[in-house]
């Protein structure tokens, strides 16, 4: 097939010869006279050109008199020069404050910032350098309007959820992320220092990625060398320590004794503590659990380039201990990255890259009722860490889940290793001046190696996490392989100097496959050293239901796409895209989807009537509309497969049977998102102020929902059906002010804000509701997707104060549990005379109304300073980290409890007996709004003079603090945390808070 393709291209290629005239040479420098290496010098309307060498020199032979030379270099205003003779040229380039000619990657091609007609945001290397993220996602948080990041966990290596312009699906809402064209799902394996830029396609511009575009697309480009660049070596390192941002105030031993006694008395039991004054302060379990943990990162980068080639190598190492568990929750990462480009011929170019990464993460239980922090909050302060025999104390009577958190950490051994090899190679061939044919192949191979050892441990009587009889071990090794192969043809031409046309035609195939293996070993010796599967008495393969054959997956995408970009005088811009995608996720009838999108732009500042006023440096209006898809569902949901669970015991042995799994729906098709964006970009006051504002509306239709279905169909998984519409409408606004007052003082401030309104328009399931999340034990699911509400809103009872006396109860409506004075009073919304789930109302939503970010930086002489904060307004969080057992500890606000008539109308009484107080209600829903000072950095760069006699070209030292403080009313550890689930996010089971870091760093360049 590909051969046919190439034949055609060869046919199109015809011999080309040009008239001969003169040779031109010269030097390019900046406005201070310093030579600029690597400047692209092109003869306009031809493929002829050169690149300046280290001294800024270039030579071009055989050009016609009257040709126009263009000199372009990132960060400088492109200059044109008409050749009249062969005298040596001296060209000075002006620094471009607006950087409108900065090239932005938009998918299978690039555009300059000025040409872009979609909502595309760029995060550059400087931002990443300034923020020192350990994960890339942190560099997006608050930096880009419309992009919201929630941390799934603050533990080292913990994940983050990226959502672009709201939650547009009930399913998997992760954007498509491509690193040098290579699909990546887990960003933790990337070294942030390797990244040159991150471009976020937020609107229909993403349409070029068709069925995978609906959640937005992030294109990451890694750093590479430049042509004619001498070898440079950079070394960047930082080290420091981390602390928790917050401890939740809980009761000390004496307070605890008082509350427990009261709870027991209220239940009619004998209070367990006698003289409270002897209890003292007791054990502060958070103090025992949290520690100051080190972090360090080193990376080197070697870059360079010759006349025809560029190269870059980078290597990095990061090691980060956890603020809980220290070394037991360590995350470390090695990365190696090589980029190489070569121009075989002037018009025949190779790009290539290879990345090798390894991470190792040690895990402790978190964000569940089994987590260390949950136990630190709930374990009794009256208990010591160890008893008189030196053994860990057992949390007797504190319920089945709460255990001594230090005992838990002492026995933990759970680690995940990831090995990943990624590569890419591309060839491009330019012919007939205006045509380029390009082909890229990208691949990933990764291994995820999990080892989890559970030694014999007795946390105390009745604890569900006890391992009493024998130690066990799980070892899993999963393999993932994917490749993307793209081939496309580009046509670029300019007619009469006013019509510029770009046409792209291409095809792409993507295949991702994998294999899951794992074995549980039982009957191990109780020693971590001997914890190997060889020492196990019995082995159980996780694939035993499949007769031991490894579970695999194989999902593929076959795509064709075309794009036309046209502009008239650079003023009137137009772009249209179509993509046809075939996906293995859908049945034969619906395998192919067709995704059109288009955008228009008007650079009003280039119109004569505005040019004269000279106020605007740029004024551009944009609009885009398109249909994008989302195919993030499981494989083969259109066919009924025998992958259900059906095991029974005969003769005391397991027999593995065959049963149908998930219910098939042959009719499923991709989610379809109609997305509209109207925006304006402007710059004025000599490019010192820039504003970008966008209005958008995204309507996702045919949502892939897994509805509840009739029990008559049996277990095994409900079908996936297309039913539901969700709408995200919002406004983004970003403003920046940058001024170079003098060579000694530069100043910049940037602010962005995003308002999003999320509303579910319909849920076409039999009940009209999808539920998710969990609260308490055995209670109905609190999160819902339902028409007329934000997706994943919290549904529960509305409280109406506290019953102050029996008379109030007698005249009121309540549920199955009869309240007593001091209990919460609920509102009978439907007036049916009973409090039950029919009285549930909306209690809030985990989706913020607005998110914003603020960056301030200035350079004064050799000092540089940067500070950065972000905020979220109007999101709610459910407090679900409190155990309700009468002997578990509680947070300090319990001291405000109801103690008698008139004492409080907010906090219920404490009781170990029956009360309706733990039903899911607004009592447990808190405002999760916050402002966080994420980063403050002060650097000092040694002057050129000081470095004159050394080989060092740049030396900078800095101190930085990250996550220094958070202003919030929220009582839990970290308001930025969420599981990220569209339905069920924002429920706090004791999230691992993101650590505060104090860092000392160095940037060194030779």
């Amino acid at each position: 097939m590909k051969q046919t393709f190439l034949k055609i291209l060869t046919l199109l290629f015809v011999a080309y010869s040009s008239a001969q005239s003169l040779d031109v040479s010269g030097t390019v420098s900046d406005n201070t006279g310093f030579p600029i290496p690597g400047v692209n010098v092109l003869v306009k309307d031809t493929s002829k050109g050169a690149v300046t060498d280290f001294d800024g020199n270039f030579t071009i032979t055989n050009i016609e008199i009257g040709s126009t030379l263009t000199f372009s270099y990132i960060g400088y205003v492109t200059k044109e020069f008409v050749v009249t003779d062969n005298s040596k040229l001296t060209i000075q380039l002006e620094e471009d404050l607006a950087q409108l000619d900065e090239v932005v990657v938009i998918g299978y091609g690039t555009q300059t910032k000025k040409e872009i007609t979609g909502a595309v945001s760029v995060v550059g290397a400087e931002t990443i350098e300034a923020l020192k993220p350990t994960r890339i996602e942190q560099a997006l948080q608050g930096q880009v309007a419309g992009v919201n990041i929630t941390s799934q966990s603050g533990s080292p290596g913990g994940g983050a959820t990226i959502s672009i312009r709201g939650v547009s699906t009930n399913g998997d809402s992760r954007p498509l992320i491509l690193v040098d064209g290579n699909v990546i799902e887990d960003l933790s394996v990337l070294n942030p220092n390797d990244i040159e830029s991150m471009n976020i396609l937020k609107d229909a511009t993403a349409g070029i990625y068709g069925v995978r575009a609906a959640n937005g697309v992030i294109l990451i480009k890694t750093k590479s060398g430049r042509k004619e660049m001498p070898l440079t070596l950079e070394y960047n390192a930082f080290g420091g320590f981390q602390e928790t941002t917050r401890r939740i105030p809980v009761l000390n031993a004496a307070q605890y004794g008082l509350i427990v006694n009261e709870a027991f008395a209220a239940a009619g039991d004998t209070p367990p503590f006698g003289d409270l004054s002897t209890l003292g302060v007791g054990t502060d379990w958070q103090d025992k659990v949290f520690e100051t943990a080190p972090i360090q990162s080193h990376s080197i980068m070697i870059k360079g380039g010759g006349e025809k080639s560029t190269y870059a190598y980078s290597g990095s190492f990061l090691t980060q201990d956890g603020i809980v568990g220290g070394d037991d929750s360590n995350f470390n990462r090695f990365t190696n990255n090589i980029n190489y480009t070569l121009d075989f011929l002037e018009n025949f170019k190779l790009t290539s890259g290879l990345t090798l990464m390894r991470t190792n993460r040690r895990n402790l239980p978190e964000n569940s009722n089994a987590s260390i922090l949950f136990n630190a909050l709930n374990n009794a302060p009256t208990l010591d860490v160890r008893d008189e025999n030196g053994d860990f104390t057992k949390s007797i009577g504190l319920g089945a889940e709460v255990v001594n958190p230090l005992a838990q950490m002492a026995d933990a051994s759970d680690r995940t290793r990831v090995f990943r090899l990624s590569g890419n190679a591309g060839l491009s061939y330019n012919f007939l001046d205006h045509f380029t044919v390009q082909s890229n192949i990208q691949f990933n191979y990764s291994e995820v190696d999990v080892k989890r050892y559970n030694p014999i441990v007795d946390f105390g009587p009745g604890k569900v996490f006890n391992v009493l009889d024998e130690a066990n071990l799980f070892e899993g090794l999963d393999y993932f392989r994917d490749y993307t192969f793209d081939a496309f043809l580009k046509y670029e031409n300019e007619f009469n100097d006013v019509h510029k046309l770009n046409v792209l035609l291409g095809t792409s195939v993507f295949k991702t496959a994998g294999e899951f293996t794992g074995v549980n070993g039982f009957g191990l010796p109780n020693s971590i050293e001997l914890a190997t599967l060889e020492n196990a008495e019995r082995l159980v393969n996780i694939n035993q239901n499949r007769g031991g054959i490894n579970a695999t997956f194989d999902s593929r995408l076959l795509s064709y796409f075309a794009r036309v970009q046209y502009d008239y005088k650079g003023k009137y811009l137009l772009s249209a895209v179509v993509r046809r995608d075939g996906s293995t996720k859908f049945g034969p009838e619906n395998q192919f989807g067709f995704f059109p999108s288009g955008s228009v732009g008007w650079v009003a500042s280039d119109e004569d009537f505005l040019k004269e006023s000279n106020f605007f440096d740029l004024l551009k209006f944009r609009a885009s509309y398109g249909v994008l898809g989302n195919d993030r569902i499981g494989d083969f949901r259109f066919v009924s497969l025998l992958n259900g669970e059906g095991t029974y015991i005969f003769n005391d042995q397991e027999f593995i049977g065959t049963a149908t799994g998930g219910i098939a729906n042959p009719e499923i098709r991709w989610e379809k998102q109609k997305t509209l964006d109207i925006g304006v970009d402007m710059r004025f006051l000599n490019n010192t102020v820039d504003i970008t504002a966008d209005y958008f509306k995204k309507t996702t239709e045919d949502l892939l929902v897994i509805p509840e279905v009739s029990g008559l169909l049996g277990v095994g998984g409900a079908p996936v059906v297309n039913g539901g519409v969700v709408e995200n409408e919002g406004v983004e606004f970003a403003i920046g002010y940058t001024d170079n007052f003098s060579d000694d003082f530069k100043f910049s401030v940037r602010y962005n804000v995003t308002y999003i309104r999320n509303e579910v328009i319909s849920v076409n399931t039999d009940t009209g509701i999808l539920e998710g999340g969990s609260f308490g034990i055995g209670q109905p699911q609190p999160s819902r997707m339902e028409a007329g509400f934000p997706i994943g809103y919290f549904s529960g009872l509305q409280t109406d104060g506290i019953y102050q006396n029996q008379a109030e109860i007698n005249g009121s409506v309540f549920g199955n549990v009869i309240p007593q004075p001091g209990d919460i009073r609920y509102i009978d919304q439907n007036g049916d005379g009973v409090i039950d789930t029919d009285d549930n109302v909306e209690l809030g939503s985990p989706i913020p109304d607005a998110t914003m970010g603020l960056n301030i930086s200035f350079d004064y002489k050799n000092f540089d300073f940067a500070a950065y904060a972000f905020a979220s307004v109007g999101n709610e969080i459910v407090r679900n980290y409190e155990n309700t057992n009468p002997l578990t500890n509680s947070t300090i606000y319990t001291l405000n409890r109801w103690t008698g008539e008139g004492s409080t109308n907010v906090y219920p009484r404490v009781t170990g007996g029956t009360s309706p107080n733990n039903l899911f209600s607004d009592y447990f829903v808190e405002d999760g709004s916050f402002v966080r000072l994420q980063n403050v950095q002060l650097g000092y760069s040694f002057s050129d003079k000081a470095l004159e006699n050394s080989k060092i070209s740049k030396l900078r030292l800095y101190v930085a603090g990250t996550n220094l403080f958070t202003l919030t009313e929220y009582k839990g550890f970290d308001p930025t945390a969420s599981t990220g689930a569209p339905i069920g996010g924002g429920i706090d089971q004791g999230f691992y808070p993101t650590a505060k870091q104090f860092l000392l760093g160095i940037n060194l360049k030779f």
Binding site: G399, A400, D469, T507, N651, A659, V709, L712
Partner: protein, 491 residues
């Protein structure tokens, strides 16, 4: 010039379109077999049958909740809000919104669908063990339908075809009597085509089929048919009561599948799961829930103090009855006898000091990976003692023979070291009822026995005649099946 370029581009487009022959790139065969292309070997049938057996394990819930619904036990648990579906049934205030009832509904229909999957393809292949496979399958179908009829009354009846996606909107509730007819036919087929002893423990036997058929007749007051089939089992089957010395150890795990056990549901301790999926477990999850809260000590493992017996059922045992000690655990007495033992007496809800000793966790099993969920205790679903008492009841209430009824009753009483009963007529009926309660305490039969004999309203607090004989069809199930079924009366 321009035209030529356009032509070139168009021809390129045409060639790109030729790529469409590569569309087979996205035809990928799934790893797992398609459910429509199965049943090609005998092994396929056997594997489908294993899956049909699998849902028997999910009935741990039916037996536990059946006991809680009765006057034998209280719900218990951690607090009043612990598993509201259980608490409400215990208090007879349950409504059509009940997660646990919905699970019973769904799990039993899963069993029905798995048996019907085999029946749907019964003619696809002939093989030597086919009759046995079909007989076991039909027993299981009858068993699942019997559960559904007991709990919900009239239920949708699908025979020899799976209920597939879309079918749920076009299926009516079938009158109970018709469902019973199907159950009887299935059990008669099973009884005539299965042996009394199977080479593997856990397989359905002729005895199990006869015992269940006798029970199904008794539930319909078909006393003659019931007595006939039960006496056939008594006279021809291999079963007997364990002796008075063997009986106290009947509930220990080493005495599973003993000679008294006519139909026993098999569990294992080596392959557990999580709270997210009770039906996926190979362990008996009711055991951990029934256990002694916070227990430390010999013999037993801890549990969550559900399903706790009340004083009244303890008092129902006659003096000298050896069954009391092995049926109900008096935890205070136990601690007095075993001073190293302790338990968490204040933490649980509705604690009575008694626990269901037949079905609480024993030490010494592997509990992999979770002590609470992976207990190997088999459910003795039909014991020979039950068969004798059912036969006695059928003979007596059917006016067939009080003498033989007394014999069977006294066989059970004598094993418990109690004297013979000599009553006849209605008095004998009452004696049989009393015996059923104490012999079968903790085994999940009581509620349904009270309902079918019309005694529930007098024995169970809050029981309303005309309403609580049946449980409500879960409201979501009515909605999800097209909202056309009528709810059971009173709900």
């Amino acid at each position: 010039m321009k035209d030529i370029k356009i032509k070139n581009i168009l021809s390129l487009v045409a060639f790109l379109a030729m790529f469409s022959c590569a569309d087979d790139f996205i035809i990928v065969a799934p790893d797992d077999e398609n459910s429509e292309d199965f049943f090609n070997t005998e092994e396929d049938y056997q594997k489908a049958l294993v899956s049909a057996y699998d849902m028997l394990q999910a009935t741990a819930r039916n037996y536990q909740l059946g006991e809680i619904a009765s006057d034998n036990t209280l719900c218990g648990g951690q607090n009043a809000l612990d598993t509201p579906g259980y608490q409400e049934i215990d208090d007879m205030i349950h409504t059509p919104v009940n997660a646990q009832l919905r699970e019973i509904w769904t799990w039993m229909y899963t069993g029905v669908n798995r048996t019907n999957y085999i029946m749907e393809f019964q003619d696809k292949l002939d093989f030597p063990s086919k009759t046995s496979v079909l007989a076991q399958t039909r027993f299981l179908r009858a068993y699942y339908y019997f559960q559904l009829v007991k709990w919900f009354g009239d239920v949708p009846l699908a025979v020899d075809a799976r209920i597939q996606f879309g079918d749920q909107f076009n299926i009516e509730r079938t009158p109970k009597a018709e469902v019973y007819t199907q159950i009887e036919q299935d059990l008669m087929f099973a009884a005539s085509n299965l042996p009394y002893t199977q080479p593997q423990t856990g397989r359905i036997t002729k005895g199990a089929a006869e015992a269940l058929l006798g029970k199904v007749y008794l539930y319909q007051d078909k006393f003659t048919e019931s007595a006939t089939v039960l006496e056939s089992l008594i006279n021809n089957g291999p079963h007997r009561l364990l002796s008075s010395t063997e009986a106290p150890l009947m509930w220990e795990n080493e005495n599973e599948n003993n000679i008294e056990s006519v139909f026993e549901i098999q569990y294992s301790d080596i392959d557990g799961g999580s709270y997210d999926c009770f039906y996926c477990l190979e362990g008996n999850f009711a055991i951990g829930f029934n256990g002694v809260r916070g227990y430390v000590g010999p013999v037993f493992d801890f549990g969550f103090s559900f399903n706790v017996p009340v004083q009244e059922v303890v008092d129902a045992f006659e003096p000298g009855d050896i069954r009391l000690e092995y049926s109900i655990l008096d935890i205070e007495q136990w601690i007095a006898d075993n001073p190293t033992a302790t338990y968490d007496e204040t933490a649980g809800f509705e604690q009575t000091g008694y626990f269901n000793r037949k079905y609480i966790a024993r030490q010494g099993d592997l509990n992999l990976p979770d002590a609470a969920l992976t207990n190997p205790n088999n459910t003795r679903a039909i014991r020979y003692a039950d068969v004798l008492l059912m036969a006695a009841e059928a003979l007596n209430r059917g006016g067939i023979s009080d003498t033989r009824a007394q014999d069977y009753l006294n066989e059970v009483r004598n094993r418990a070291m109690l004297d013979d009963v000599t009553t006849t007529g209605p008095n004998l009926t009452n004696d049989i009822y009393k015996e059923r309660r104490v012999e079968l305490v903790g085994e999940g039969h009581r509620f349904f026995d009270l309902v079918r004999t019309g005694r529930a309203a007098t024995e169970i607090d809050g029981f309303q005649t005309g309403k609580h004989e049946l449980f409500p069809i879960p409201i979501q199930e009515i909605q999800l099946a097209g909202n056309v079924w009528e709810q059971n009366p009173g709900y």
